[in-house]
């Protein structure tokens, strides 16, 4: 257990350090999301949107940004040739957990920036900020869990073909998208709130847990040759 934790933390620390040095993934993620939001805001113009449409736009941008920006976690290891070292020294579960936490932290940064820009550009009124924050948090868990496994799968097998990740990711994430949009909609409307979103939050929690459990079990098969 101790070695597992140490390995997990070492992966996390190393990736965050590398990220802070180059700032490639985070910059790409943020700029992609900002660019997409600006495009969407300009396309919509000053027309007022319903809460449902606003929630749908926000989550579409988050999903696309994650699919484009989070695919690098394992490809960089392949490129640097460090994958063998990790295979020899660490348990697969520790590698997965470390990368998962890195992706989760990146997604949290993305959420903060994207929601801020979204509120300004699309003139969103958030009635229940706590509910919105919890929805984003729980949604990010599931999103990070699925993206980490599938990006490992693509990096290990298909040599990191870029467009493959969205193709694999989107159908799997439909349940997450639907409940997250519904919960976000409740967070935007004064008349709704925690009581109406309870089931969606529960679904998001369950989805995150199931995805991560399945990913930990399946990760062994794609990590080890």
């Amino acid at each position: 257990m101790k070695t597992w934790l140490r390995g997990f933390w070492a992966i996390f620390e190393k990736d965050i350090k590398l990220e802070l040095r180059a700032r490639y993934a985070i910059n790409m993620l943020l700029l992609f999301a900002l660019g997409a939001l600006v495009v969407m805001a300009f396309a919509v113009g000053p027309t007022p949107l319903s809460a449902r449409v606003q929630a749908a736009l926000l989550w579409t941008v988050l999903l696309f940004a994650a699919a484009v920006g989070l695919g690098r976690a394992f490809i960089s290891e392949e490129e640097r040739g460090t994958i063998l070292l990790l295979q020899l020294n660490l348990r697969p579960g520790a590698v997965y957990a470390g990368k998962l936490l890195v992706n989760f932290v990146l997604l949290l940064a993305l959420n903060i920036v994207a929601v801020g820009a979204f509120a300004v550009l699309l003139r969103v009124q958030v009635a229940w900020p706590g509910l919105l924050a919890l929805t984003l948090l729980l949604g990010s868990v599931g999103l990070a869990g699925a993206t980490t496994l599938l990006s490992a799968l693509i990096a290990r097998a298909a040599g990191g073909r870029g467009a493959l990740l969205p193709v694999l990711l989107f159908p799997v994430l439909v349940p997450l998208l639907l409940s997250a949009v519904e919960a976000t909609r409740s967070a935007l409307l004064v008349a709704e709130g925690w009581a109406t979103a309870a089931d969606e939050l529960l679904t998001l929690t369950g989805f995150g847990g199931a995805v991560i459990t399945a990913a930990v079990l399946l990760f062994d098969y794609i990590w080890l040759d």
Partner: protein, 242 residues
């Protein structure tokens, strides 16, 4: 491979195939010839029940078979498991598309009569579309990997990962979309509204179409095995020449 001999048991295959052919012929005859109660708007289109609904059962059966063989592939690494998972998914797509087509056309002229809607986000339709998208992604993934052993492993992992998310979809979709399908909230369950005559044809139809799936699926598995063997023979012949 111990299993190859069993797969090539042609006698058993032929017997089962003939049984399925006879059975399905009887089902189709029954489906078109037996009298059914005439209900306003539905009229004779109610016979679609015999074809549309069994497609779903067959798609689910195919998905189960495919996931089971993916799991076994990860455990054993036997190439035949990968072939079986692939072919079950492929035949499953075929039945899924047929079910979707029969459902959309039928719903347009019964449920959505007068609204000119082709698509109204029915949970069951949406579920099938996502299932088909997943299988589409599964085949795209397969075509992206060259090494057969790696391809099998990666595809099996994706297949199983998708299966894990399915129950959530089944739970989430009906909460957000209204359904006119029998058994959903507000409409009686299938067995309450169905005339006994229709049940007499419907249940055999389900068995018949699952049997048809089995025939097509085993046929494709054997074809894939033979193709593999031909490739191997050609490779050895080329080597012997040079």
């Amino acid at each position: 491979m111990a299993e190859t001999g069993q797969i090539l048991n042609l006698r058993r295959y032929r017997q089962l195939r003939n049984a399925v052919v006879v059975w399905l012929t009887l089902v189709v005859l029954g489906a078109f010839l037996l009298r059914i109660p005439r209900i306003h708007i539905l009229e004779h289109t109610a016979r679609n029940l015999y074809f549309h609904v069994p497609m779903w059962f067959t798609l689910m059966a195919a998905a189960l078979v495919s996931a089971y063989h993916s799991l076994r592939y990860l455990q054993s690494g036997d190439p035949i498991r990968d072939l079986r998972a692939r072919e079950a998914a492929r035949v499953g797509i075929f039945f899924g598309l047929l079910g979707l087509a029969t459902g959309i056309v039928w719903a347009r002229f019964t449920w959505y009569l007068g609204t000119s809607l082709w698509w109204n986000f029915d949970p069951k339709q949406s579920f099938v579309v996502i299932q088909l998208l997943i299988y589409g992604a599964y085949f795209v993934l397969r075509s992206a990997v060259e090494d057969p052993e790696k391809r099998g492993r990666v595809a099996a992992v994706y297949n199983l990962f998708a299966v894990v998310t399915m129950p959530f979809l089944l739970y989430v979709l009906p909460r957000q979309m209204e359904s006119l399908h029998p058994g959903a909230e507000g409409s009686p369950a299938f067995s309450d509204i169905t005339h006994p005559i229709m049940r007499l044809v419907f249940y055999p139809a389900v068995i018949g179409f699952i049997g048809l799936f089995w025939v097509l699926y085993t046929q494709r598995v054997r074809l894939a095995l033979l193709e593999q063997r031909v490739e191997m023979l050609q490779a050895t012949m080329l080597e012997a020449k040079s």
